[in-house]
């Protein structure tokens, strides 16, 4: 185990920034003072007192908007000299269609993965990335996503153990921990005067070779163990996992129960966008003149066009069905495919929901056997 003195943090970040983009949680300078992940610059202090950034760090690996393919059409025999057409007569150029018939086309995939270091994310965020990994790197024999994986492989994850969990934290109910190591390359645990640092992967080992680290003393190791134990106890038990998947399946048709839970939902997408695990995306084309790109953007299951079919039919037309899909995906569909849960218990969906829909309540209600008659908790 290593130790990083508090006053060595800036020099470590500076050193890392020589070879990679370094991303840290930082407080915005404006009045709102929102804490979010952003690129480190000399002098910017990581904000580690605030437990959770507004959004998770997933956008640095699974970008909200990614142009992954470009294309360019050229006309056969085109010289690149634009025709001098008369302008301002939009009604009269209907017959342009035939001219475009025989074009040539150049298509290029774009995979961008500059090296980066994510410092200061919490174990729940790191664990969220592991769940997304399953989906994007072909767990169970599915497909491999080159854009995501390239960025994932180029990223080093330095997590900082939580100091003071919130009441909305429930990582321990999902098998995680405020000092969890899933998906983490090196774990920093705050102790007196700095952090103890455990390298957990090859990338982590590489990191701790830096001269900023010294070997941890026995007392520091003990202190770290104590910190971990203490914070673990501060996370409330939100629900038991046993039977949740089966009960969600059994309660799928309990429309009354789902309606009741969803009644105050306004059907926006905040919960999915702040979630470190949600990964659904949309693909759209954008073309200007003869060139364009194919873009992948975050999507969410509350978006009406997520499932809307061309015929006008929408398999999930109602708010209730969209709502039900989100929780069923996390605790039933995903587990069935990937043998783990699509939730790491950060609680962001609860605290950022404009009407405070509580995931824990939904799981408690619909993840338990429902009494047909009353449906109410005793």
């Amino acid at each position: 185990m290593k130790f990083l003195a508090e006053d060595k943090l800036q020099s470590l970040l500076k050193e890392l920034a020589n070879a990679a983009q370094v991303v840290i949680p930082a407080r915005a300078e404006d009045a709102e003072g929102m804490v979010s992940f952003r690129a480190w610059e000399p002098g910017v202090e990581p904000e580690l007192d605030v437990l959770l950034t507004r959004q998770s760090a997933k956008e640095f690996i699974f970008k909200q908007c990614e142009e992954y393919l470009t294309y360019h059409y050229t006309m056969e025999g085109e010289t690149g000299v634009p025709e001098e057409e008369e302008e301002g007569s939009p009604g009269e150029d209907e017959d342009g269609l035939e001219e475009i018939a025989h074009e040539t086309l150049r298509v290029e995939a774009r995979v961008e993965a500059p090296p980066q270091v994510l410092f200061g994310l919490r174990p729940c965020d790191a664990s969220g990335l592991v769940q997304i990994d399953n989906v994007f790197s072909g767990y169970g024999g599915f497909y491999f996503d080159p854009m995501y994986n390239a960025r994932r492989e180029a990223t080093t994850i330095l997590a900082v153990a939580c100091a003071e969990p919130r009441s909305t934290c429930f990582c321990t109910s999902l098998g995680g921990s405020p000092s969890g190591t899933e998906g983490v390359d090196a774990l920093f645990t705050p102790v007196e005067g700095g952090f103890t640092v455990e390298a957990l992967t090859d990338k982590g080992e590489e990191l701790v070779k830096s001269s900023a680290f010294v070997d941890a003393e026995g007392s520091q190791e003990e202190a770290a163990a104590k910190v971990k134990e203490e914070i673990e106890g501060k996370v409330d038990e939100a629900f038991g996992l046993e039977g949740v998947r089966e009960n969600l399946q059994a309660n799928f048709e309990d429309t009354e129960g789902w309606d009741e839970l969803a009644s105050r939902c306004i059907s926006c997408g905040t919960c999915t966008y702040v979630c470190p695990n949600c990964y659904c995306f949309n693909i759209t084309d954008h073309k200007v003149e003869t060139s364009g790109e194919r873009v992948r953007t975050w999507d969410n299951c509350f978006n009406p066009s997520y499932t809307l079919e061309t015929s006008g039919h929408n398999p999930r037309a109602s708010k209730r069905n969209r709502f039900r899909n989100r929780f069923s995906h996390k605790f039933w569909y995903y587990p069935e495919k990937y043998d783990s849960l699509l939730c790491s218990g950060c609680g962001r969906c609860i605290t950022h929901c404009p009407v405070r829909i509580d995931l824990r309540e939904v799981v408690r209600e619909m993840g338990s056997p429902r009494v047909a008659a009353s449906g109410e908790e005793a």
């Binding site: 634009p82 269609l97 073309k287 003869t290």
Partner: protein, 153 residues
């Protein structure tokens, strides 16, 4: 207009080099201002060539968003013109338009766009001379400001 014709025919010389000229979009009602612009052309009245015209059935059809979209797409100026109030082909379309356009006009500077880059006015079919003046003056002002350095919109 289909996707394709749009693609092929929006190719303008100006956008392809860095030292571009200015792009001014005119959104005109079919019955008065478009006809006014047409008759100015027929009368061979000299007018700036930087204006690209979008013809709409009536200013009442114009959503303020059309103008903002033009700015977002890189226009340096947007000129909206229709029938004089009281002369609308559809009786009252331009009365509705007047409120919307006035609101837009007042908000334009707060959206980070110089007020001189937007104007709404009325030109009738017979006012080819007035059209010439309006467009010359407007384009002249936009030219003075030069290409817009885009930030937010």
């Amino acid at each position: 207009m289909t996707e394709k014709t749009e693609t092929k025919q929006s190719g303008d010389t100006a956008s392809k080099d860095g030292d571009r000229g200015i792009k001014v979009i005119g959104i005109l009602c079919n019955w008065c201002s478009y006809a006014g612009a047409d008759s100015a052309g027929t009368a061979r009245l000299k007018q700036p060539v930087d204006l690209r015209i979008v013809r709409t059935p009536c200013t009442g059809r114009i959503d303020p968003i059309f103008a903002l979209k033009a700015f977002e797409k890189g226009a340096d100026g947007v000129l909206v013109s229709g029938c004089h109030p009281g002369d609308c082909h559809y009786a009252e379309g331009n009365y509705y338009a007047r409120r919307r356009l006035e609101l837009l006009d007042r908000l334009i500077p707060h959206l980070g766009i110089e007020p001189e880059r937007f104007r709404y006015t009325w030109v009738s079919a017979s006012e080819s001379k007035r059209w010439q003046e309006v467009v010359t003056e407007f384009v002249g002002k936009v030219k003075q400001l030069g290409p817009r350095e885009r930030r937010a919109l």
